[in-house]
């Protein structure tokens, strides 16, 4: 594991789609470095032969009947929360 740099933070922020300011990059780099330093203690733990845990219930293949559930929510209800709509569609700025 390595120390995190300002450029790493800028790159990670671009992956996370957060347009952080240069001032914020500097403070985030410092704070993230402290947290990553703290979690480094896991390096020393012997985990040979141990599988990772991704869920704790042990439930597998939970299915439900393939039927439409009536949530009593209309298309208009959902569009009411959208910042921009046109003709019953959500509108977004151009992609490129």
């Amino acid at each position: 594991m390595s120390t995190i740099t300002n450029d790493d933070v800028r790159y990670v922020a671009s992956l996370a789609k957060i347009a952080v300011s240069d001032d914020e990059v500097a403070s985030l780099t410092k704070e993230l470095a402290v947290i990553l330093e703290y979690v480094k203690q896991l390096d020393a733990v012997d985990t040979t032969g141990i599988e990772p845990t991704y869920q704790v219930t042990g439930l597998t293949n939970v299915t439900r009947p393939d039927k439409i559930i009536d949530y009593a929510v209309t298309c208009d209800d959902l569009l009411a929360n959208a910042p921009r709509t046109r003709d019953g569609y959500i509108e977004v700025p151009k992609v490129l």
Binding site: L28, I35, L42, D43, V45, I50, L59, I69, V73
Partner: protein, 470 residues
């Protein structure tokens, strides 16, 4: 100390539900200096109150919580107002559907009156990360109520309502319950449907109650527990998992949670209650789970990773905050997320993105999930050796001062050090008030059980509460 039984008795004796609900709403207004709630749902609450009053007049059969007012943390989607998650990102969001837990309480006649404050998106342990200002501790307004369910804990401690709902991802019900002197329940993972609750870390998020009494906690949890086809991670049982409860419990005091780093009065309170359990005829022994010391490091990797994924949905397109005049879609995402997330949200999203990114995922994320297995194995080992329940402090200290830990994110995280292991293992853990320190600040005792031993913890907690009354 307001309880469900008090409210039921008042309504039975002829008081109108409207009067009960109006009184609770007036208490919300009177508690403004503590800032426990973000908004009230006054109109809908009064409409529902009038409906129940009409049902009473008409002699209709009533739900078991008919007319009992309650408060939900503002990360539960509810009708009748906004659901903000205490974030600017959602400050104008009106949910088009309700959380299953709210539906179940309403089906029994309970009346939601307000939405409680929290750390934005439940990221924090003090409620200071709320974009709507911090909540203050009812026992000392210069101190934090804990978090992230700080508003819920404060509302119950202030006797505004007999119960509030919270969410616990790494201690967010237990630690504020401890700081505010109320009963906080984190059930076994999967006990209560998460449908309609703003997701933080899906592998550890659970829903639970904050109440003044163990009896009320037990009742509220029995109403909201159970399988929900809309949350495929709910356990396939009706209500809380049944359990044969032995008369004599074998109780372990977790050695790793009783170090010199813990406030001496907190340790003394734990030992005093361990002694009380012995006097009741239970066996109490010290027990060691060395890997729980690694739980906080595991937690901040795993949970940040899940946070970074769950908060990907806030993109300024479908709902929530949206930057105007974006040059293109990428600009819309970037500027919306920069403005809508606060510093702590960003830290967690970036840590999570970092540990999942190419080149680091094995060293951080997979390593953490493997150490998580080690922690779970140690819990299984202890419960397999015949221990029925573990006890320890909830937090290393009583409530700290507002602003004391805000400059140092890692210091703030350390407040979660004794609660995160149970979250990673998905096992039930309760916080029970067991006295105060010399500053009259409440101390919480943590009861931890094996998966689906919630009923056993309730039985032990009731014995403890009976003991302190007697």
């Amino acid at each position: 100390m307001i309880t469900i039984a008090d409210i039921r008795a008042r309504i039975k004796n002829g008081e109108t539900v409207r009067a009960v609900v109006e009184e609770a709403l007036a208490k919300v207004d009177a508690a403004k200096e503590f800032n426990p709630v973000i908004s009230t749902v006054r109109d809908r609450a009064l409409q529902r109150a009038d409906q129940i009053d009409a049902d009473i007049k008409a002699g209709k059969s009533l739900g078991s919580l008919a007319g009992v007012p309650f408060i939900a943390k503002d990360n539960f989607l509810t009708f009748g107002g906004k659901t903000t998650a205490a974030s600017n990102m959602l400050k104008n969001f009106a949910a088009p559907y309700q959380a299953t837990a709210i539906d179940r309480l309403e089906a029994e006649g309970a009346i939601l009156i307000a939405k409680a404050n929290l750390d934005a998106f439940a990221h924090g342990g003090s409620t200071e990360n709320s974009d709507f200002g911090p909540t203050k501790n009812p026992h000392d307004p210069t101190r934090v109520p804990g978090g992230s369910s700080g508003g819920s804990a404060a509302a119950v401690a202030l006797n505004i309502v007999p119960f509030a709902l919270g969410t616990d991802t790494g201690g967010s019900i237990r630690q504020p319950a401890s700081f505010c002197g109320v009963v906080g329940i984190k059930p076994t993972y999967g006990t209560v449907s998460r449908f309609g609750v703003v997701a933080m870390a899906s592998s550890t998020d659970v829903i639970g109650s904050l109440t003044n009494s163990v009896d009320d906690a037990h009742y509220v949890m029995s109403v909201i527990a159970g399988r929900d086809p809309r949350d495929s991670t709910t356990l396939p049982t009706d209500g809380l998992a049944p359990d044969v409860i032995p008369k004599q419990l074998k109780i372990g005091i977790v050695k790793e949670y009783m170090t010199d780093a813990v406030q001496p009065e907190v340790r003394q309170a734990v030992l005093a209650k361990a002694e009380a359990f012995k006097k009741m005829g239970h066996i109490v022994e010290e027990v060691s789970l060395p890997s729980v010391n690694l739980a906080l490091a595991v937690y901040y990797i795993v949970v940040s990773a899940e946070v970074s994924s769950n908060l990907g949905r806030y993109d300024g397109v479908k709902f929530g905050l949206s930057t105007k005049d974006a040059a293109n879609l990428n600009d819309l995402y970037g500027r919306t997320r920069d403005r809508g997330f606060n510093a702590e949200n960003k830290r967690r999203i970036l840590i999570g993105t970092y540990v999942l990114s190419s080149g680091y995922i094995d060293a951080y994320y997979r390593k953490a999930q493997t150490v998580r297995t080690k922690i779970i194995n140690e819990f299984n080992d202890v419960f397999g050796r015949g221990f029925d329940m573990l006890v320890g402090p909830v937090a290393p200290t009583t409530a700290f001062k507002l602003g004391e830990n805000t400059a140092d994110p890692l210091q703030m995280y350390l407040a979660d050090t004794m609660t995160v292991a149970a979250s990673l293992a998905g096992i039930p853990a309760f916080s029970i008030p067991v006295g105060s320190d010399k500053n009259n600040l409440p101390i919480g005792l943590q009861l931890i059980g094996a998966q689906r031993s919630d009923e056993l913890l309730f039985a032990a907690a009731k014995q403890l509460q009976g003991e302190s009354r007697g």
